[in-house]
Amino acid sequence: MASGPLETYSPSQTLERRHQQQKRKSFNEIDWARSDGRNFHQCRPAYLRTGATSSASGSAYAEFGSTKVIVSVFGPRESKKAMMYSDVGRLNCNVSYTTFSTSTRGQGSDNKDFSSMLQKALEGAIILETFPKTTVDIFALVLESAGGDLPIIISCASLALADAGIMMYDLVSAVSLSCFGKNLVIDPTSEEEACQDGSLMIAYMPIRNEVTQFTLTGEWSTAKINEAMELCLDACSKLSNILRSCLKENVLDFTD
C-alpha cells in the first residue's frame, strides 16, 4: 500500500540519548525488544496522503505501521433545521470501525468516546467564526486497528480539514505513549496497549504551542509526566512537519 516516501517522527536522538543515559544509571532496568523491532522512543513510519475520497470536501488517508485510517470532511454545510442559531460554526465528529478492523471480527460500531475526544481535540484549532450557522462533518473510519488509533485519527482528521480548506490556527498532531514500569514506550501497538501500566495521549498545535487534548491513565509521578510530555511534544512537532510536507506535495502535484 505504502508506495510514497515513508517518514517517521521519532523524538530527537539527543533527547533519546539523554534518557538512555538516565536509564543506565538506574539499576534493575528490564529491557525487552518491541515486537516490530523498534526501540522505545522510535515511532512507526507514517504514510499520509490527502484526497482519499473524491465526494468529500476534503479527505486524508493515514497509515502508521499497520493502523490504517481514512477521514473525510464534509462542509461547511447548513446546520440541521432543528439546531438553534449559532454565530459560530459547529463541528460534528464521528469515528467508526470496520467489521474487519480487529483480528477478531467486530461489530463495526461507532465509537462515541473517540468521537467526542476527536471533536475536543480539533475544536480549539478550527477558526469556527469563519463559518457561522453551518456545520463541518468529520467522518473517520478505522480500516485496521493496530494501536494508537485515536492519535492517528486526530492527526489524519486535521490533515483532512486542511485539505477541505477549513480555516485553522494550526495543524493538530497527536501522539500517544505507553508506560511499562520505568520505561516509556512511544507510539504503542495494540499488543503493547493491552498490557501497559499507564498511557498518555497528547494532541498539540506546535506553532501556537498549545495542547488541545490531553489524557492520562495509570499512576504517574510528576517527573515522569514531564519526561513523557517532552517526548510526546517533540514527536508531535515532527509529525506536524510531515503533515505539512504532505499538504505541500499535494499542491505541487496540482501545479505540475
Partner: protein
C-alpha cells in the same frame, strides 16, 4: 444553560483576577463539602455528597459474574453516571446523555486507569475481586446520579465514590435483620467448590454472615481546575463553568501520585501551564483528601451512635 450579561461576566472575570470570587472564595478554595453515607440501603455501599448546590449520589453494588476471557485473574468494575432531570430542564429526555457519558468516561479514566481497568494506579484492586480464577468474580457496578447540578460534577462524583468504600467495610456490622431482608449488605463471603464435572459447573454458597473486607482506600480524588480568562480556579460553579475556556481534571491518590487526567473544553493550553495546573491540583488534592477523611470519620461516629 446559564445566561450571563456582559456586566456579570466582567464582574466574574474581575473577581477571579483579584482572587476573590462571586461567592467570596479564593481561586483554589473548595465550597463546603458534606457527606452522608449509607443513603441507599439496597446497595453494598452508597454515599451522598453535597458540594455547594451540587448534590450527587453514588452507589456500589456487587454482583457475581464471570471474568473477561482475556483477564481471568481480575474482576470487573463498571462505572455508569446518570444525570437526573431534577438537576435541570436541560437533562430532560435524552438531554443528559451526552454529559452522562462524558462524566462516565472521565471517571473511568481517572479512577480505573483506562477502559479496561487493567492498569496500575487503579484505586480498586481488581485481583481481590476474583473468587475462582477464570470462572467467577465479583462485578462491581458503580452508579452515580446527579440530583442537583451547580458545577464541578466530576469532583463531586469521585468524592462520592471514594467515601462509598467506608460503607463497604462497616455496613455488615450495623446491618439489622430488616436490612438483610431487603438485600445483602457488604459483600457476602462466597465459598466456591470446584467440581471436576464435565460441565465445569460451580457451586456457589453465599453466606449471609461472613463478609469480605474490601479495600479501596487507594481510590484517588479528582480535582478539576477550570480556566476562566487567564487564571484557573478550583471547584467552579455552573456560572463559572459557562465562562471556561478549558478545564483539566487531575485524579490524585493518597501518595500524591497522579492517577489519571482528562482535559475538557476545546481551547488549547500551553504545555507549561498544563504542568503548572497538575502540580497545583496535587496540592489542592491533599486538602480535599484531608477534608474527606474528617467527614468520613464524622459519618462513622454518627453511624456508631445510631446503631
Amino acid at each position: 444553560m446559564v445566561g450571563l450579561s456582559a456586566g456579570e461576566k466582567q464582574f466574574m472575570h474581575g473577581g477571579i483576577a483579584q482572587d476573590l470570587r462571586s461567592d467570596g472564595r479564593q481561586r483554589l478554595q473548595f465550597r463546603p463539602i458534606s457527606i452522608q453515607t449509607g443513603v441507599i440501603p439496597q446497595a453494598n455501599g452508597s454515599a451522598r455528597v453535597t458540594l455547594g448546590a451540587t448534590v450527587v449520589i453514588a452507589s456500589i453494588k456487587a454482583e457475581l459474574g464471570k471474568p473477561a476471557p482475556l483477564r481471568p485473574d481480575k474482576g470487573k468494575v463498571v462505572i455508569f453516571i446518570d444525570c437526573s432531570p431534577t438537576a435541570g430542564t436541560m437533562f430532560e429526555g435524552r438531554g443528559g446523555e451526552e454529559l452522562s457519558s462524558e462524566l462516565s468516561v472521565g471517571l473511568q479514566r481517572c479512577l480505573l486507569g483506562g477502559k479496561s481497568g487493567a492498569e496500575a494506579g487503579a484505586g480498586i484492586d481488581l485481583s481481590s475481586l476474583v473468587l475462582a480464577e477464570g470462572k467467577i468474580c465479583w462485578d462491581l457496578y458503580i452508579d452515580g446520579l446527579v440530583i442537583s447540578s451547580d458545577g464541578n460534577l466530576l469532583d463531586a462524583l469521585a468524592a462520592a465514590i471514594k467515601v462509598c468504600r467506608f460503607i463497604f467495610l462497616v455496613r455488615f456490622e450495623i446491618s439489622s435483620p430488616w436490612q438483610v431482608a431487603l438485600s445483602n449488605t457488604g459483600i457476602p463471603k462466597v465459598s466456591v467448590i470446584v467440581e471436576a464435572s464435565a460441565e465445569d459447573q460451580l457451586e456457589v454458597n453465599v453466606s449471609d454472615e461472613e463478609f469480605l473486607q474490601f479495600d479501596t482506600s487507594g481510590v484517588p480524588v479528582i480535582v478539576t481546575l477550570t480556566k476562566v480568562g487567564r487564571h484557573y480556579i478550583a471547584d467552579a460553579t455552573s456560572e463559572e463553568e459557562s465562562q471556561m475556556s478549558s478545564a483539566v481534571s487531575v485524579s490524585v491518590n493518597r501518595h500524591g501520585r497522579v492517577c489519571g487526567l482528562t482535559k475538557r473544553g476545546g481551547a488549547g493550553l500551553d504545555p507549561s501551564v498544563m504542568l503548572d495546573m497538575i502540580s497545583v491540583a496535587k496540592h489542592a488534592s491533599e486538602n480535599l483528601i484531608a477534608v474527606l477523611d474528617s467527614e468520613i470519620a464524622a459519618a462513622e461516629a454518627a453511624e456508631d451512635d445510631g446503631s
